[in-house]
């Protein structure tokens, strides 16, 4: 069983705010699931020599006009901004006065 601290730590790593009761239920659920998926540890060491078939497929660098991909759709993108000022998306200052 993973500890409550581990659950809190995972939540911090995953940037998720959890409710109080949720820590206990996640502790139980995640432990159960980890016990189940832990079956893979039975897999023999030789198997780890297997190389995946997946590979990166790269495309050629080709120059495009600025704003090409969004041309004509700027307003749709702006409309999704959580807080908007004119054409700009308002974001929080990274370094704040009190820090």
């Amino acid at each position: 069983m993973i500890s409550k601290d581990e659950v809190q730590n995972l939540a911090a790593l995953a940037r998720l705010k959890l409710s109080a009761g949720e820590v206990e239920s996640l502790q139980k659920d995640i432990s159960n699931i980890l016990d189940y998926v832990g079956q893979v540890s039975a897999f023999s060491a030789a198997a780890t020599d297997e190389k995946p078939l997946q590979r990166n497929v790269m495309r050629d660098d080709t120059p495009r006009a600025a704003g090409d991909t969004l041309s004509g759709k700027e307003e749709v993108v702006r409309a999704a901004f959580p807080t908007r000022e004119g054409d700009f998306n308002v974001v929080r200052k990274i370094i704040q006065k009190d820090e």
Partner: protein, 466 residues
Amino acid sequence: MSNLNELSITEASKKLAAGEVTSLQLTEACLAEIEKRNGSLNAYLEVFADAREQAKAADSRRAAGESHPLLGIPLAVKDNILIEGRTASAASKMLEHYVATYDATAIKKLKEAGVVFLGRTNMDEFAMGGSNENSAFGPAKNPHDESRVTGGSSGGSAAVVAAHMALGALGSDTGGSVREPAAFCGVVGFKPTYGAVSRSGLMAMGSSLDQIGPLTKTVADAELLFNAICGVDPLDSTTVQLPAAKADNKKIGVPRALLAQGIEPEVLAQFDQALKKLQMQGYEIVDISLPSAGLALAVYYIIMPAESSTNLARFDGVRYGLSIKGETLLDDYATSRGEGFGPEVRRRIMLGTYVLSAGYYDAYFGKATAAREVLRKEFSAALAEVSAIATPTAPFPAWKIGEKSDPLSAYLADIFTVTANLTGNPAVSVPMGTVARDGADLPVGIQLTAAHGDEATLFSIGKALE
């Protein structure tokens, strides 16, 4: 056939070509059925207000001389596939008001063909679940018994096809999300070979597992839709044209050792009936061994959460989606994500974070990746001997809404479907009769898996089962 909405795509297509019906009539018939049943089934999250206009446009295109088998066919689309200018929420509060800025490649192709989009269908939030109970907007209900789940995650798409509220639908399949709801609702669900259909414009869940696939009334319809959406796409570098390296015989392999436990006896009885039907049509049923297949579910529930937690890291409330301000910037992220994602999505993000964290990576993700390659080789070896592998699609029929409260017990529904996503093989679920539960006849499905690129074999065996 009395009602136009009950036609298959293939039948409707013939009638459209012959001038016996118009797209507007087909669309009106579906909308009338939606009016009757969607209130209780909750299968559509939104019915598009311009469906009739789309149908009229399709009729004009036909009048102007255009012809495509899908021109004027009314279809439904899962809520995680982007249609420009329309809401795409992935059944999540995180994206409740999100409007798509471009068309998914599959949608672009269907628009060119002249399809009418009726609406967007309910699903498990971000495609995470096998029952549609994880939707932020309430579960879709099974048309065969409304107290039961539709299966998932493409539950709404399966329900609208089963209830004749659309002639067909698109879903997405990461671990069985097209096939399992198709089995539970009694329709055909098809997952193409990984790389056959572009993932551009499909909200990413497990990028190495995801495929868009059709849910339809017949195997011929699934083939028609698949042929319309497949193809290499510069916007998805994993799309490939695969030469089918297939066994040229009429042998179907059954991994009997895998079916020895955990399957409800009536499901197994229907499965054996389906195999008999195939035998009578000249197929030879042989026993095959897939020694590592028993590990597939464990492998899947490591790889999928790892990829999902990575893909869902983009939702931070800064540029789009739910945004809740906290005390600090970090707080903004954590609060937006905490409130925006539902319990199952949070659980999988946490699980993915765990299996990818330093110290656990080798024990979980490393082992799972290696096991995945072994599985792929076992499937390739088996499919060099037989044309297809058959199993039930799920070990049991649709369960009662709320019955499986423990997440792990719900994951077990995916035991036969996840393997094709791990190995990239194409797989289809075809109805194989019903089993009786509490006075209702609940559909069950048979799953067939073929070699990479050999969708043709699945279509021909599927048709033999109908």
